[in-house]
């Protein structure tokens, strides 16, 4: 579906810079907000939708799955702020609960995909040799395999539903993360102190965890942030093709599926609001990711 911009030079260069100086989480956050107003906007959007999803039970005015045949396709009004869909379900409530689905799917996929990619990428870079060779071939296969066929097959075999959607989305993320992490890790591996550490008898795990992982944290964090946005978009596309989450679970992509096009002229709000929700959320995630990258990559920092 989509590919991150690789910026091979930028990200690889990150590896040279070493880890972030420890300043405490709070200090770092405050500094970040002050220097990156755009990133702050991003965080604000993400938090807006994220918290909406978390607190949906309390904020949502209606039950998102309750059909109300007396109120089908109503325009936005005081009773229903964003209108209702063709089954009379309140759109605002569905979007709020949809945020929950989006973030659950997005963050799970990004986390699982990212961590797997991290493990495989670092392991591949560290051990080198045949491990690296065959692992990379395996990941090449997965990466070049068309996502749509993979998703169709997963859904046809296991059925639809949130878990299977997450599986279908996570699989292509793993090789992408692994590739980036690996190229950063490779740069570190050449550094003499790794050999020195081995000579001193330090175990593999210790070297990996202490030296390699912290140094690939930069690109890793950037990529994992981008993954969340990508996962949300992929979920939307899969739901549009009918391969994603199923009714009556509220999910933004699903809301754009059948009803949206059918009612596009008579009830455009059914299509517009979920689309906007997706756009704003991913927009916020991207803004945040961009600022994160700017912070972590001193070369691109403003002078």
């Amino acid at each position: 579906m989509a590919v991150l911009e690789p910026t091979p030079t930028g990200l690889a260069a990150l590896a040279d810079e070493g880890s972030l100086a420890p300043r405490g989480v709070f200090g770092v956050s405050l500094a970040f907000l002050r220097r990156q107003p755009v990133g702050a906007l991003g965080i604000f959007l993400v938090l807006l939708f994220g918290l909406a999803g978390v607190f949906a039970n309390w904020i949502a005015p209606y039950n998102p799955t309750a059909n109300d045949f007396a109120a089908m396709t109503e325009a936005p009004s005081w009773a229903h702020w964003l209108g209702t869909d063709q089954l009379g379900r309140d759109l605002l409530s569905r979007i709020l609960f949809g945020a929950r689905t989006a973030f659950v799917v997005g963050m799970t996929s990004a986390f699982v995909g990212g961590v797997s990619g991290l493990v495989l990428g670092v392991g591949s870079a560290y051990f080198g040799g045949y491990v690296d060779l065959w692992l990379q071939r395996l990941l090449d296969i997965v990466m070049s395999f068309p996502l749509i066929i993979m998703a169709l097959a997963v859904v046809s075999i296991f059925g639809t539903g949130v878990q299977n959607v997450i599986i279908a989305i996570t699989i292509p993320l793993i090789p992408r993360c692994s590739r980036v992490v690996r190229s950063s890790a490779l740069a570190i591996r050449e550094v003499p102190y790794v050999d020195a550490a081995r000579a001193l008898g330090y175990g593999h795990m210790r070297i990996i965890l202490r030296h390699m992982v912290p140094n690939v944290m930069g690109p890793f964090l950037v990529i994992i942030t981008a993954f969340v946005g990508q996962a949300i978009l992929t979920e939307a596309a899969l739901s549009y093709l009918g391969l994603g989450v199923q009714e009556p679970v509220p999910a933004w992509g699903l809301m754009l599926q059948g009803g949206a096009e059918e009612y596009a002229t008579t009830a455009p709000w059914i299509a517009i609001f979920p689309g906007l929700a997706i756009m704003l959320t991913v927009f916020g995630i991207n803004l945040f990711g961009d600022s994160l990258r700017d912070v972590l990559d001193p070369k691109l920092r403003d002078r």
Partner: protein, 323 residues
């Protein structure tokens, strides 16, 4: 260098073999088969005898290992078999649909690059100005918009706007004609899908151009040129742009190979009879031979593009070139 090239090229084959095996197994794990789809989706009843004769005709009653070996052997001879759904050679099925997908992809690239490179450059030159901010917002929005939603909205906008202006709603033609037969009609069909895919593509390329230009502009030799008093425009055209272009071209190349993903959804939205739609169909119909061939096509394109990029970078890296 030669050793590197040979090694790198040889590595392509296990990847291809692996992908071929993966699709073979994956397809056969899906419950049911093409005969069920063919006989059963009408809702009428069919006898077990009809099912069995269908199986025998297509050849899916043979043991898996036999099917696998004949498939791999076919691949080696570039014989991609017959589509199980229509009985026509797979190559014919793909060839009829390839031109339109290719045309959309190429148009999308042209649009994307034509906008991305100039805008990205300007954005980098005027970093943090309002132009920069505008361009960055535009490109981040492009990354955030679901392509199919954009497609739906664009069709509707065109219908509504034309209806508002002229009273008659206009929609691009839905039956495809090739470019040489009727260029205007062809372009009107391809334009909206190309823009829909192109937007995202443009966004990625724009960001890449911007960051690559920014990096190059900070290089010492640029500062030297400035110190020497060279005119800005000369610096940009002669030095900066050339060097910035390499990562940009790389990204454009790799993204093109992965454009297939975007094509799938876009072809659904715009009812285009292309490769993306064929992929969805072939999996839904459980047409093993066709799906296998399509996957191999996409995988080969992806693998070859990454190969070319890797070789290019290797050639540029003197450590490897001179080895």
């Amino acid at each position: 260098m030669y050793r590197y090239i040979i090694n790198r090229v040889l590595l392509v084959f296990p990847t291809l073999l692996g992908a071929a095996t993966l699709v073979f197994v994956l397809m056969r794990l899906i419950p049911g088969d093409i005969c069920l789809v063919r006989l059963g989706s009408g809702g009428e009843s069919f006898t077990t005898a009809a099912l069995a004769s269908c199986h025998a005709e297509i050849g899916i009653d043979r043991p898996w290992i036999v099917q696998y070996l004949s498939y791999i052997w076919g691949l080696a001879r570039f014989d991609f078999g017959i589509s199980m759904w229509s009985g026509k050679p797979v190559v014919t099925e793909i060839a009829t649909r390839f031109p339109i997908s290719l045309e959309v992809a190429v148009m999308a690239t042209v649009i994307a690059v034509a906008i991305a490179i100039p805008l990205g450059t300007i954005s980098a030159l005027k970093q943090n100005s309002w132009i920069d901010l505008l361009v960055r917002t535009f490109s981040i929005a492009g990354l955030a918009t679901p392509a199919f939603w954009l497609g739906i909205v664009s069709i509707l906008l065109v219908l509504d706007i034309t209806q508002a202006i002229s009273g008659v709603p206009w929609m691009p033609p839905i039956d495809y004609v090739p470019l040489w037969r009727d260029p205007i009609r062809n372009l009107s069909i391809v334009m909206l899908p190309a823009i829909t895919i192109g937007y995202r593509y443009c966004a990625v390329s724009m960001r890449m151009t911007r960051s690559a230009m920014l990096e190059v502009l900070r290089e010492d030799y640029i500062r030297t040129a400035r110190a020497k008093g060279l005119i800005n425009r000369l610096i940009i055209n002669r030095h900066a742009l050339k060097n910035a272009l390499l990562p940009v071209v790389t990204v454009i190349g790799i993204e093109f190979a992965f454009l297939i993903g975007g094509l799938v959804v876009t072809e659904q939205v715009f009812n285009l009879n292309g490769i993306g739609r064929l992929m969805v169909l072939s999996v839904q119909n459980q047409d093993y031979t066709l799906t296998q061939a399509l996957v191999m096509l996409v995988v080969t394109i992806a693998v070859v593009s990454t190969l070319v990029v890797d070789l290019l970078y290797a050639w540029l890296d003197p450590r490897i070139r001179l080895a």
